[in-house]
Symmetry: C2
Subunit: 509 residues, 2 copies
């Protein structure tokens, strides 16, 4: 709690500009927050203020829709024995949350205390549904495949020499916004696969590589196989500058050196697999990035002299931010270019350097975002997810601490990831007598006959496995599930198949 | 039991030759075995007698190594309280089975009755290991990728217009010899994926299709992507001519029309998936075959006039066999060619017709095989598998009723298949107080870093899931497991990682 207090400390002053140096020097000791960020009202010259405002509106609106649930349900709890309870409860819910509550739960208030746990889970699921609908219908992050942003980014990516961008952040909810916020990449232009500790599945990724290459050979998409471009795989591990020893990556015991090392091992294993399994110079490009979950600043690993990703040779976007905030746009650009290449201007950059410049510039906006809207460092330095997402999909989740993501085909394989999520939510929710809301999702390809039916069966199978593995929680009403599917070949939103809260049909006598 | 008796009846006479007609007319009623097969000592002119003798030697030797276990253990049971028991037991085991028994189990005989269940499972596992070693070292079926047979067959396949042959038989042990015996295809030239009811996984097969195409584009293997050849997917469902209502496919309630229909549905779904998901005229070829598990004769579905696989328009290799056995090689060839094409000789056939001719001819050898060595119809018309194989691999299993195969990544997904296997073995073994021997296998690619370690973890995970799902059996010593892995990029045999019978290391105090 002391450390949470530290995170909330308001006594920021304009500290001295930190020199450009490896960020790892900072995160070993209890940090002096003044050094972490230049706390002023100034914006960085490279920052995109309009985008920042838009992103914040979206974050605020969406999170509020979840965070208003408890106060709304309290209001409803007080009136559960009053006259016209049903109408009044629905009115309050509609006014505060914009959703209807389930009549079959409210109806019981005369005979037993309201099932507040059930109502809480219901509200989370319905808010998730609304948020999902909004995402697929309105493209609030301007990142859908038909957006100008996505088209431009994909062109840029090809210019850099990459025909596919595949990012694995940790499944920790504090990295759920890595793509759309921290790196400012249109979500549809990235393959995202979150895994605990950012430890992605090598075989699965090789399969994706094959699919990507096959599409280039067969359809010339996104470019012809004869073009000299690569598949770029990025691993984003994380650490905490505010509380390095406790709020880093749980999968690596908050040891950020280990997190980096193991991320690099996975990357190298992926590359070696492709090189060993396929002929004709098949290879991939790799990138290792550390994310400070307090400030959203990045630690980008550059290559050693031998051309391999270096664990030591890193640059910190926060250092860059601090060092350039008072400079002009031009000199900021020059300073960054000099840092990552032998050229002084962005136009001269090519390949990976061009890509890194873009990520640095985009991340500077995010550092400004955190500075402007979250006082330079998030108040919720720890976990504060609203629900657990289990399965394959969740293209719509791009907000920090909204979702703990457990990417799995089966609970049998994904149990270690899921157990971590259940543990996190035991602290967040169960300790407050609130249930753990689990949204199960299976995306499917509508082009494949029977795929929809199989996705529904997958949801049921995983739901069943969850109810066996977490039997005690389920029996106490402390874990609720909502089963959803989505046709990935369409732009439609996800569809709720069933919930553990559905009215049970009476059995025939 | 009456029906088993019927299968064993010895009063065969030389029956009249059946006319060429759809086999389905036969299997609806209690069969007249005389009509099923021409019981004489004559061989069919197209039959390969030398190959038959060789295949029988292999079948006999391998099955005997399993079937001698019970009598050997009985012999050992009688002497468990005699002097020099350990040495004598090992001597008997070596003499009869060629294996050593586990000392840590034998050692206990003075303090409690010998764990015969444990010894039985141990022997099955060690015989499996020996048989597996023999297969990969000596290529007894002459079907390894370096064999002349495989090279010739692959050339033949390309000549027919197919660059990959992918067969899904039912996981029923009575179909485990489909490739090497019933169709006489070199095992290394086929992708085999057994599934209960022959209901293969469409998404998984599409992935395999992509890999195959990618290899053609990238490496020109087995031929260039520009060549007009196709991926051929075959479904082999099954039925019983001796006891059609009870010994057909359990997954389809012994309803062979349903088995054919559902197999066809899967094939069409696979084709539609490929056609809908990929451009440029991507497609696949399909084939539907029924297998009579009593005689090993095939029912081959031909195309309707509209060019679609027909459920009604079939030919029976048994009818062909009976109709041509007394003819010359030339006239047999002519009769078959006329039946499946408009040409009178094999040389004139192309494409699918050429392929079907080969399968018919090969299967005629197998009908002769069953006639010569199994009195025209197997004595074990029902299940008589020796162990359950669970996981991914088992390239070495090509004997009828040796293995019930449960092809799965996870018990969570594969439970329906596995439950059927456990039920079968509850009848075969548990009812006789013998344990169910389960061999877990995960093949891996040695070219992929960490793949071996992941295969070991997969074995452990599945073993753990089995011990949870079948807790009661495991606790009573009525289910034992043997964990094995194999590098699919090499020709080495499988490697045993551990067994449920391993000596427990004493815990430190």
């Amino acid at each position: 709690m002391v450390l949470r207090g530290l995170a909330k400390a308001k006594n920021f002053t304009l500290g001295p500009t930190a020199p450009l140096k490896s960020f790892s020097q900072n995160i070993k000791t209890v940090p002096d927050r003044n050094k972490l960020i230049n706390i002023s009202n100034e914006k960085h010259p490279l920052s995109n203020t309009i985008q920042n405002n838009k992103l914040y509106e979206y974050e605020k609106k969406t999170k509020r829709s979840f965070d208003n649930i408890v106060s709304t349900l309290k209001e409803i709890a007080y009136i559960q024995h009053n006259e016209d309870f049903l109408e009044n409860a629905q009115e309050i819910s509609q006014k505060n949350l914009g959703i209807d509550l389930p009549t079959h739960i409210l109806d019981k208030s005369w005979v037993k205390p309201l099932d507040m746990r059930g109502l809480y889970a219901w509200c989370v699921f319905k808010q998730h549904e609304k948020f999902s609908d909004d995402f697929f219908k309105n493209d609030p992050l301007c990142g859908s495949s038909s957006s100008t942003e996505a088209k431009e980014f994909e062109k840029f990516l090809i210019d850099c020499g990459f025909h596919l961008l595949d990012i694995t952040p940790c499944s920790d909810g504090r990295l759920a916004h890595t793509v759309a916020y921290v790196m400012r990449i249109p979500f549809s232009s990235v393959r995202r696969r979150s895994h605990a500790g950012a430890l992605f599945d090598v075989e699965n990724t090789v399969n994706r590589w094959i699919k990507t290459e096959h599409k280039r050979y067969r359809e010339g998409l996104p470019n012809l196989a004869s073009k000299d471009t690569r598949y770029l795989k990025i691993v984003t591990y994380h650490f905490s500058s505010v509380d390095p020893l406790h709020q880093g990556c749980a999968a690596h015991g908050s040891n950020d050196e280990l997190a980096a090392q193991e991320g690099l091992n996975k990357l190298l294993a992926f590359k070696e697999s492709v090189e060993n399994s396929f002929c004709c110079g098949a290879s991939v490009d790799l990138m290792l990035i550390g994310l400070d979950t307090d400030t959203d600043a990045l630690k980008i690993h550059l290559n050693s002299k031998e051309g391999e990703i270096s664990l030591e040779h890193t640059i910190s976007t926060l250092d860059i931010y601090n060092s350039t905030i008072n400079k002009s746009e031009e000199s900021s650009e020059r300073e960054i270019c000099n840092l990552i290449s032998k050229y002084p201007s962005e136009n001269q950059l090519t390949g990976m350097e061009k890509f890194i410049y873009k990520i640095i510039k985009n991340n500077i906006s995010q550092i400004d975002y955190v500075k402007t809207f979250h006082k330079g460092s998030y108040e919720d330095i720890g976990h504060a997810e609203r629900f657990i997402g289990v399965g394959i999909g969740f293209k719509e989740v791009h907000l920090r601490n909204l979702t703990y993501f457990s990417h799995l085909d089966t609970v049998e394989e994904g149990a270690p990831d899921l157990d971590v999520g259940i543990k996190i939510f035991s602290g967040l929710n169960v300790s407050e007598d609130l249930p753990i809301p689990v949204v199960i999702r299976f995306d499917y390809s509508g082009k494949v006959p029977g795929a929809k039916e199989r996705a529904i069966k997958d949801c049921d199978r995983v739901n069943n496995a969850i109810s066996i593995r977490y039997k005690d929680l389920v029996e106490q009403g402390l874990l609720h599930t909502c089963l959803t599917i989505r046709d990935r070949d369409k732009t439609d939103s996800a569809q709720i198949i069933s919930m553990s809260l559905d009215k049970k049909t009476k059995e025939a006598h």
